[in-house]
């Protein structure tokens, strides 16, 4: 086991304060009971389980948190937040870490999740609604796994669970304006 010593404590404190301010949660209140981790459905796929993320933030190890797979993967089911005896919304803390990582342009290793979120939003930007068929095929090809979930396709088609023609809303301009308002209308990847 390696023990990594972070050198980012001074600047880390600012980021932790920022997370606390934006999320409205008190990171310092965590006393490491580990209940969040015991209830987390994704912890086995994370590099740091939720209670360790809390501890790392308390210690100012911000770089590790922002670059962690946890911050990229966590899908915000909020089970940890429901169980916390100190009423800390742990998922909210992780979500704000994720947002800050995103603002800093930290991409991380979880390319496929990034790809999914991006593909989803581009799809919505284009049609105003989600076109599931396009999203699924696009993701499979972009992630170079064209046969991912191929076994589901006959099931989906047989049950007529998908639209071939994309749904479009009429006032797409308004939706485009929303996207422009957020990111200036450029095409962020």
């Amino acid at each position: 086991m390696t023990i990594r010593v972070s050198s980012t404590v001074p600047s880390g404190a600012d980021v932790v304060a920022d997370i606390e301010r934006r999320s409205g949660e008190r990171v310092s209140a965590c006393y490491q009971c580990g209940r969040c981790t015991s209830t987390c459905t994704g912890a086995f796929a994370f590099d740091y389980p939720p209670h360790r993320i809390m501890r790392m933030l308390q210690l100012g190890q911000v770089d590790e948190v922002l670059n962690s797979r946890t911050a990229q993967i966590c899908y915000d089911c909020m089970t940890c937040s429901t169980r916390c005896p100190m009423n800390i919304d742990v998922a909210n803390v992780i979500e704000h870490a994720k947002m800050i990582a995103d603002e800093r342009g930290i991409e991380g290793d979880e390319k496929e999740i990034r790809l999914f979120r991006l593909a989803f939003l581009k799809n919505v930007r284009r049609y105003g609604r989600l076109h599931e068929a396009r999203l699924l095929t696009w993701i499979n090809f972009r992630s170079f796994r064209p046969f991912n979930d191929i076994s589901l396709i006959p099931l989906i088609l047989r049950r007529k669970k998908i639209h071939i023609v994309p749904p479009r809303i009429k006032n797409r301009n308004e939706v485009h304006r929303i996207f422009r308002e957020i990111n200036g209308g450029d095409k962020p990847e």
């Binding site: 086995f44 937040s81 919304d89 999740i113 939003l121 099931l155």
Partner: protein, 360 residues
């Protein structure tokens, strides 16, 4: 002219009228308020969860609940919007729907737990920040309306139907069944924003289910996560998380899991075969939508409610309540349904009409 189109014309006319009126006396509520609910189907209900939409419309019609689809609604942004590009994308996308819905309605219903969650969250953010309200107003080019009451499907039925009235009407039609009530994450969390039911031990589905004559014993995994939208990027998370849920429900002898979320349904139903394969199990646990169960209780046909569009067959369950045959292969059930069920269903004619309306 479809209802949605009628409404969008009405909205345009109304907006002009309202603008004129605001110039005169500044009053906002010049539109006659509407007793029916603004209905936000959401993307899933228009495609992969079409049976949720169809069964919801049918049951609402049967119970005399008026639904007006929000004209030209857009995707709420789901989970990716707040998780990507930071900013307030996850607030502004739902804000447009709230704004349109609030024009003529005091309450809206979003049966998809994800949409319900995003809209309520957006409302909370809008109420709490002048800056976000300004942003929304800039995008919509009108002062944003966001105060509309947002209900999920369970909440709506709870309000519109008392368990006593339902029990009276259905006469124990679903007696002998035992449903696992599964709430998942997004209906109740985060508790301080959703403000719905008990977020640690939600119970809101139970009274109406019990009123159908069925049982709804305690399901310990009722608020566990199914793995959310990780199906594409991290399938192993979904398979593991969903397996625990169906495994426990199976072990406790439930007839079906009842859910009110299309994504939970997708993970538990569509991927049940993958789960069985990955873990060497042989579970066959039907996953039903809350609206489908109420529909069955009201005597609507399983066919119209879209129960045969699920991957895991519910034929054993249907046989228990006298709909469909217990054995025979799936295909024969599906084709027989249209004739066989019509005979047993008391409201076969009205429900097939409503189905056309549901598809329109």
């Amino acid at each position: 002219m479809s209802d949605a189109r009628k409404m969008s014309v009405a909205v345009k006319a109304g907006v002009e009228e309202r603008n004129a009126d605001e110039r005169n006396d500044g009053s906002r509520n010049v539109v006659p308020r509407n007793d029916s609910y603004a209905y936000f189907p959401g993307c899933s209900l228009t495609s992969s969860a079409g049976e949720y939409d169809a069964s919801f419309r049918l049951v609402a019609k049967e119970l005399g609940i008026g639904l007006d689809e929000i004209p030209d609604w857009n995707c709420c942004g789901a989970s990716p919007a707040p998780h990507h590009w930071g900013g307030n994308l996850g607030v502004l996308l739902p804000a447009r729907n709230l704004h349109i819905a609030g024009y003529a309605h005091d309450a809206m219903v979003a049966p998809c737990a994800g949409c319900y969650n995003r809209h309520k969250n957006a409302q909370h953010e809008l109420a709490g920040s002048e800056e976000i309200r300004e942003q929304a107003t800039r995008v919509l080019r009108q002062p944003v309306r966001y105060e509309i009451e947002i209900l999920n499907l369970v909440e709506l039925f709870d309000r519109e139907v008392t368990p006593e009235a339902l029990a009276e009407r259905v006469q124990g039609r679903l007696a002998g069944l035992n449903f696992a009530t599964y709430y998942g994450c997004l209906l109740t969390r985060p508790a301080k924003i959703m403000n719905f039911d008990n977020h640690r031990n939600p119970v809101s589905m139970k009274p109406l289910l019990m009123a159908t004559g069925a049982n709804a014993d305690h399901f310990p995994f009722k608020s566990e996560c199914c793995g959310s939208y990780m199906g594409l990027a991290h399938k192993e998370i979904v398979l593991r998380a969903s397996r625990r849920i169906i495994d426990v429900a199976d072990g406790l002898g439930f007839d079906a899991i009842v859910t009110a979320c299309p994504l939970c349904h997708q993970n538990l139903d569509l991927r049940q075969g993958q789960i069985n394969k990955a873990f060497g199990t042989n579970i066959e646990m039907p996953i039903l939508y809350f609206s489908q169960v109420l529909g069955l209780a009201l005597g609507l046909s399983a066919d119209d409610l879209g129960i045969d569009s699920h991957i895991v067959s519910a034929r054993k369950l249907l046989a228990k309540i006298g709909q469909g045959a217990a054995d025979g292969d799936e295909r024969s059930i599906t084709t027989n349904n249209s004739q066989g069920i019509q005979k047993t269903a008391e409201s076969g004619a009205s429900s097939s009409n409503a189905r056309v309306a549901g598809e329109g």
